[in-house]
């Protein structure tokens, strides 16, 4: 029916159907299929599928005879109109007069779906082969009620479960398909995202051991772990005293000197060795220190990029940097060996 994607417009089929108002006759009927058929139709339980029965001012006026519908509408358009190619229902009653149960309407943008006019419990859809050849004339009237769509949708609480089956099935399929696709996309995206992270060999190089006994008194060594700079400084007693004699309440990032040390295996601190990150907390430059001949105003480090001064405990004292030089994760694996990890 080609309505999907072109809402609001008549497709060629609809135009053809719209022109098909009137009597549809099917003069043939094969006998034998009548035995198990339900008796009379209960008009009140008439339910619509798509094409659906629309609210008709004239109640109880016709049965939708699907053979007739097929014959008439299928003309010249069988392949496309299989949607509405109703199988005959067993509701054909063994009487010879024509009846109209209701108006058949096509609901805009829904008619693509295979749908059967369901006539409650009293009328079941049988496959085409059971299509009898009627000796009598069935009448049906086809209209296209474009305005009736809202009224048709889902508001009929009396409908049997199957009445709106087409709609709920379609919703279910849409939601299920989109959910599965989204799940698949997420599952696919995860490896593509994860590969951007550090690889296993990179992660394996994320720690290193340093022999702090090799650091000269008053000097420092600089090491790179995974490209990140770290300072290991051997402080003099004067520098240690400077670091301890600071009123920390006046510091921008208050920390005592002891807070910035890590204990040895026996629990004691080794204030002579200070380990800090080598990245200025302002914008990541590497501050200069004893080896470069500049210690800054507070005897620690000086960042030449934007003039941050760090004291002998690596704490920020002056300049734009907001925080002290961070102390990395490290531990004493022996008296003189530390292991620094990222």
């Amino acid at each position: 029916m080609n309505l999907v994607g072109r809402p609001g417009r008549f497709s060629s089929e609809q135009e053809r159907i719209a022109g098909l108002e009137g009597e549809l006759a099917d003069g043939k009927r094969r006998s034998g299929a009548e035995q198990d058929e339900p008796a009379l139709l209960s008009f009140g339980s008439l339910k619509e599928g798509r094409p659906a029965v629309v609210t008709s001012p004239a109640a109880k006026i016709g049965v939708i005879h699907c053979c007739a519908l097929q014959g008439a509408i299928g003309e010249g358009k069988t392949a496309r109109f299989y949607d509405v190619d109703f199988s005959p229902e067993a509701c054909s009653q063994p009487h010879g007069s024509a009846q109209i149960l209701g108006y058949v309407g096509l609901i805009e943008s829904q008619a693509h779906f295979t749908a059967f006019p369901r006539v409650g419990a009293s009328c079941d859809i049988k496959p085409r082969a059971s299509c009898g050849s009627a000796r009598y004339v069935w009448r049906t009237k086809l209209r296209i009620p474009w305005e009736s769509r809202v009224a048709e949708h889902g508001s009929d609480s009396q409908s049997a479960g199957g009445a709106h089956a087409g709609e709920t099935r379609r919703d279910f399929i849409h939601i299920a398909a989109v959910t599965v696709a989204a799940g698949g996309a997420a599952a696919l995206a995860w490896p593509f995202l994860q590969q951007l992270g550090p690889a296993a060999d990179t992660r394996a190089l994320s720690s290193t051991e340093v022999d702090v006994s090799k650091v000269p008194l008053g000097g420092e060594i600089r090491i790179l772990i995974g490209g990140m700079p770290f300072f290991v400084r051997h402080r003099t007693d004067a520098e240690i005293q400077d670091a301890r004699n600071v009123d920390i309440s006046k510091l921008r990032d208050p920390q005592t000197d002891d807070d910035r040390l890590r204990p040895k295996a026996d629990g004691s601190l080794n204030p002579a060795i200070l380990v800090t990150s080598g990245s200025c907390t302002h914008l990541g430059c590497v501050p200069v220190g004893p080896a470069q001949g500049t210690l800054g105003d507070f005897g620690g480090w000086y960042c030449p990029c934007h003039g941050s001064h760090y004291d002998t405990s690596g704490r920020i004292r002056k300049g734009p940097a907001p925080l002290n030089l961070p102390v990395p994760k490290y531990e004493y694996t022996s008296d003189s060996i530390i292991k620094i990890s990222l």
């Binding site: 080609n2 999907v4 072109r6 060629s12 496309r80 085409r128 082969a129 590969q195 296993a200 060999d201």
Partner: protein, 481 residues
């Protein structure tokens, strides 16, 4: 074919955009409301599958390039690092490596589809030629990509192919030198291959745009080969009819893809490529990837000189000719009937062609001098020089008899014993199949178009669908119950 656009922008933004860059209109007219023949079968889904393949290769390839190092010292190790250390690197590399095979599988089916249903005939010649260009680019891309892991097969396979180009008269050596950037395959070669391997997929994507553009001018062909006569009767909109059908086919294809990636990731590769390239040691048996085997078989089938053309050059010509002949196919096939559905003789010739193409693949995978089957049991052959110094040979069933005969000969005969086999060589099969490959294009299709009497064709697409559904309804009405 598209006719006037039916796109109607809904929101203020889309109206604004539509007046400035009607890209949504282009997409809508191309992939939503595009009128598509209603009778396309599943062979027509491979276009969409190929689009997925290209996107897959580009996505995974971009990721691999983030981790790969194009250097003869580090290339192999960097690939191993991708496999072992990079998170999900194994997955992405296996998708990329098997994706190449899946890409070629799909493109071959797509091409056979075109050959069978006459998709190359007017007015779709340019569409077909663009497809051939894409295929040629794919071959070049795949070949260069296979060199990058720097395994044994990478190195020596590329050495063989680049040396082939040296067979071209006059300019061959120059081309070869410019391709390799030095006297042999080495760092310069690897770096330019990597650069081009990254570039060419985007060239392919560009040609695909042209391919789709050309497709949307003439419209899809269809299994009947009958042109669309009335858009309303013969076609359905691309969406949802073919988005759903293509989507289903893509899902099935991805399942096959996943089977290879997760269960047989190395089955289409070659074990020798897990050994780092060693220029001093050539593997015993050099073969390209499976998708190039038919052309490799054609190359090796030419073992004879023709006039002044040496066998080596003739083989190269035949190999490239086997692809290039596709470019002129629209003018080789003289039949006015597009679809072979209505060409009973051509249909059989086509089946033979498919068998020949697949058979050539097997020929390419086997050593040309190996035997497919034996004419007789192996015997022992004593070869010697007779009193006049002419080489002779005698066959024996029994070793002691052969040995006795050998001892009876004087030392000047220089007799030796060896096993003598007699059978049908792969070489001969590849020669026969190569001959048919070219005969199909150069003789069968031109001649058949003139002499063959086609079966009646349906008046229109709608008509063919109508008759099929009617006969189906008439044939199995009871089965429905």
């Amino acid at each position: 074919m598209s006719g006037p656009s039916t796109y109607e922008p809904k929101s203020g933004f889309t109206r604004w955009l539509d007046a400035r860059l009607p890209i949504a209109r282009l997409a809508y007219d191309s992939f939503v409301d595009f009128p598509t023949p209603k009778n396309l079968n599943y062979w027509w889904t491979f276009g969409g599958i190929l689009a997925i393949c290209l996107v897959t290769q580009i996505l995974t390839g971009v990721v691999l390039a983030m981790h790969y190092v194009a250097s003869t010292d580090q290339a192999f190790a960097s690939v191993e690092r991708i496999m072992r250390d990079v998170d999900y690197g194994w997955l992405i590399r296996f998708i990329h490596a098997n994706g190449a095979s899946m890409f070629f599988l799909a493109v071959y089916i797509h091409m056979f589809r075109g050959l069978y249903y006459g998709s190359y005939k007017a007015p779709r010649e340019v569409l077909w030629i663009l497809g051939c260009v894409i295929y040629l680019l794919m071959v070049a891309t795949a070949f260069m990509g296979y060199v990058l892991p720097w395994g044994q097969m990478s190195f020596h396979g590329s050495a063989v192919i680049t040396n082939l180009l040296g067979a071209i008269p006059l300019v061959g050596e120059t081309i070869k030198t410019y391709l390799m950037g030095g006297p042999a395959i080495g760092d310069p070669t690897l770096n330019r291959f990597f650069s081009l391997h990254y570039l060419l997929p985007f060239v392919i994507a560009g040609v695909v745009v042209l391919h789709v553009w050309a497709l949307h001018v003439a419209g899809n062909g269809n299994p009947t080969g009958v042109a669309v006569k009335e858009v309303k009767k013969d076609t359905v909109p691309f969406h949802p009819y073919y988005t759903v059908k293509d989507g289903f086919a893509i899902l099935l294809f991805l399942m096959l893809f996943a089977v290879f990636v997760f269960y047989f990731p190395n089955i289409l590769g070659h074990a020798d490529n897990s050994i780092e390239a060693n220029p001093l040691q050539t593997p015993a048996h050099i073969v390209p990837e499976w998708y190039l085997l038919p052309f490799y078989a054609i190359l090796r089938a030419i073992t004879f000189d023709v006039g002044p053309i040496p066998a080596k050059l003739l083989g190269v010509m035949a190999m490239f000719g086997a692809i290039l002949i596709l470019f002129v196919l629209p003018w080789l096939d003289t039949s006015k009937v597009r679809s072979m559905r209505y060409r009973p003789i051509a249909q059989q010739m086509f089946v033979l062609f498919v068998l020949a193409a697949v058979g050539l693949g097997f020929c390419g995978a086997n050593n040309p001098d190996d035997l497919i089957f034996k004419f007789r049991d192996d015997k022992l052959s004593v070869s010697y020089a007779d009193t006049n110094g002419v080489a002779q040979a005698r066959l024996f069933d029994d070793f002691s008899e052969a040995k006795a005969f050998q001892s009876s000969l004087p030392p000047t005969a220089a007799a030796s014993i060896e096993v003598s086999s007699s059978g049908f060589k792969w070489l001969w099969l590849s020669q026969a199949l190569s001959a048919y490959y070219f005969l199909y294009f150069l003789v069968v299709l031109p001649v058949l178009g003139i002499v063959e009497k086609p079966k009646p064709r349906p008046a229109s697409i709608a008509d063919s669908v109508h008759r099929r559904s009617k006969s189906a309804a008439g044939a199995v009405p009871q089965a429905a119950e």
